[in-house]
Amino acid sequence: MTDDSPRATDDAPRLIERPVAAAPRPSADGDGAGPDAGTSRDTVFSSRDVNVYYGTFRAVRDVTFDVHTHEIMALIGPSGCGKSTVLRCYNRMNDLIKEARVTGTITYRGTNLYNERVDPVEVRRRIGMVFQKPNPFPKSIYDNVAYGPRVAGQKRGLDDVVENSLRKAALWEEVSDRLSDSALGLSGGQQQRLCIARAIAVGPDVLLMDEPCSALDPIATARIEDLMQEIKQDYTIMIVTHNMQQAARVSDTTAFFTAEVHSENDSRTGILVEVDSTQKIFSNPSDERTENYVTGRFG
């Protein structure tokens, strides 16, 4: 069942020691999912003129960009620029807020997510989410990870799903002997990795991460960042962060957002300034506002 072969190479610089047994890679299945899958440029998401309103207030204006498979896309920008709001459009979490309304189109692998026939529940099974604060359920570690598959109706083979997900989230070594303990007993960093395992267990295609490290200490943050590098082989990742170093360390592509302040009522509307490869954004951005932000002159 489990592929015990060691991982091929580690491409990210190691900040701390990692347990040897890391997540198994899916075996190549004739689909071309080889080591070069990360460089494939298939489009996962493309958003066109996306606006988000809360009641009459426009929180985000005219956002247009694409996200490609097996890349880590970072959304950065000053606070109040709507990064999290944009992120939550991609798995329709904004549906849970009564007043929120989304216009424009977001296509996911060719299908408009906001087509009225699309079921947000099914969308969220394919597009998982990791939240700002670790939010494990007050259940056992095992039940947390098994939650998504169970909700989807899976009854058999849960043990394997739990083990594989925890391995991918680099948590298996730490918790394998206490799977039935309460998840609330884990440390903050472990809880967040558990939440990642829980999201992975559903078998998603994309992971949305909303400032996943903002509640964690630097060591736990480094672990999560390493983890992202590993799992990007299997998933497309979008991460919101207000930590520019983090964006520079982990992401392949970066989208920079900023906020227009409306002087009449002091409200803010988020706008997308530019999207480019992370290297370019941080070394040679084309927009002056981006340069001011990444060099610390603004924000």
Partner: protein, 320 residues
Amino acid sequence: MISRLSDDRSRAAIAASIERRRVDTRGLLFKTVLQSCLVITLALLAVLLITVALDSTDQIGTRLWEFLQGTLRSRSEDDRLGIHQGMYGSLWIAIIVAVLAFPIGIGAAVYLEEYAPRNRFTSFIEVNIRNLAGVPSVVYGLLGLALLLNGQIFGLDRLTGGSSALSGGITLAILVLPIVVITSGEAFRAVPNELREAAYGVGATRWEMIRTQVLPYAAPGILTGTLLSMARAVGEAAPLILVGAISGRLGDNPGLFNIRALTDQFTALPIVITSWTVQSGRDAGFIAAAAAAIVVLLVFVLMMNSAAILLRNRFEKKRG
């Protein structure tokens, strides 16, 4: 397996799977069941109010004024049947509760929230008060009976005149005391600490700080609590039965403003309602009389309750 979805690249398959909008029958059913729980509950409330209103028309519709002025009688046909003794008794009880339970209860809450050191004795008092709030009301009746009527302790029966409005009032004051302490305590805990520090910062003593900052800020919360406990006291019957409220015929009929009435025999609205309801088995006319008395009682009790609810919602909104 785990990454099965990322491997299937067929756009058509993906589109088909996320567009497969199943009708969530179980979810709808669940929601309907939950809704019907609320609907049944509220329907029962509505039926209760309508039944009482309809039953009461025989008395309230035809002889409201006489009914309000009348007295306890043994037959429902009696022209002098009415509830004025019950209303006077309830009024006296309300006054006694306000005079006794409110100052002691609020004072206890001030001590517990603002003065008391955090030690085992304080938490013992707090646990004790919480447990008192859960003691059935009939047990308070037993306390009143032993303490105020039978003179087993301190000869208090000579002071209260035995089975009297004073005994009933004191018993109900003891009954609502824990409620007053708990609700006022919650109001004090909602006072922001900055206010206290600001008052200390300009040289206020503790009591001056409490009087000028804590009490005014907590006033709406305290008022809510006192209104609720007053409504509770006015509607209670069980302890009054045990301290000997009159349900049959009340002898003489002292006026409302005669202080001697305090130590005389008494009755109260809930007792009148109980007595008439129980007697309706042999004299069906008492159903209308009991319903009419209930209308009068509900007017008072619901007015106090809704005032309390409105007051609380208003201030909750204001202070976010």
